[in-house]
Symmetry: C2
Amino acid sequence: MQAPRGRPRSFDVDAAIERAMNVFWSRGYHATALPDLLRATKLSRGSLYAAFGDKHSLFLRALDRYIADALTRMDDELDPRRDPVDGLRAYLAGYVERACGANGRRGCLLVATAMELAGQDAEVGRRFASFFKTMETRVADAFSRAETAGRLADGVEPSSAARILICFLWGLRVVAKTAPARTTSQATADALLARFIK
Amino acid sequence: MQAPRGRPRSFDVDAAIERAMNVFWSRGYHATALPDLLRATKLSRGSLYAAFGDKHSLFLRALDRYIADALTRMDDELDPRRDPVDGLRAYLAGYVERACGANGRRGCLLVATAMELAGQDAEVGRRFASFFKTMETRVADAFSRAETAGRLADGVEPSSAARILICFLWGLRVVAKTAPARTTSQATADALLARFIK
DNA sequence: CGATATATGGACCGATCGGTCTTGAAAGGA
DNA sequence: TCCTTTCAAGACCGATCGGTCCATATATCG
């Protein structure tokens, strides 16, 4: 792998994707126009199209970035080497943090994209389904470990509890659009977990 | 109130709103173009603008219709004269029905609109917040009645249970985009309710 | 120094956007 | 019959859409 011959790329591709991600995140796919992306990435039209192909491809890159960030957080919080209950608590706390006040108002790129495009756009649908499945197995694993540690309340089945928790978390992201108080969301999340953990 | 002088209106306004609602429901606000609405309502451009003003106004009428339908269902299922636990079960069953297979894929106009517009469009934000509040008080009422009937599990607080259930239900509408099996969604909903009811 | 490759900025493209307006037919009341 | 109103069909509007292209400057190579 030797250096290419001409002038080297002078902008940071990852940074551009992140800036684009923030625009899509705030406005949604259809409502984001090219000038918005150019302003945010500080790229010229030519450079953006040369680097990313078209709006849809750039969007997928941005979505993948968002998903990767979410997976990283999840793998950290639900790390098998951590105490599973602590992990679940940390996982919930992250969602609460993102689901109140201004953070909440901003919404969730994944939920917004799922509602806006998942039905019509196969690439998006595939990504959403895949992330959902990963999330389900990770949370179910955590509940399983909690069960073997004897921390689950009577009659709680790990995979069922995981499905419930996941629906709850997606729902938090929807409710977040009303910018609820942090204490309310936190108390609600705590109350739910308390029905599963002893 | 005497009859107007000219040719009477020859199309059904409510039916047109309903058809428009279905288009917005399937495609979202921004992705719905005028020709889509004209085809669905079978109206000419002139008639549509004369009757509804503009796209945004028509959208709000459609959204209001969607909300009214949801409120009607809710008032029926959570009717105070019904057994509260039966009511909650029926309420959940309705969501399960709408959150699986093709019904699920179609999504929820309210959730989609909240994610797409609630942050930027005050009219939409107001409607969403209002519906959310109504939903919360109605479900909390049902849990309260269940409590006085001695049907709540130990340590369950009605208003907290209501907030949990509502997040769960919004989340169901998101997860529904992966078109899950009906039995799965039903079992999950049953399992959640089982944590609250004895 | 050339050759090569990437950058910018903006002109330019056809298509489509939401919205207005005109025309002429049709359907009611006076 | 005449007046009024509504209808459908579609021409038309300026603005904006996503996307291409070009001229020019610049940076790094052999």
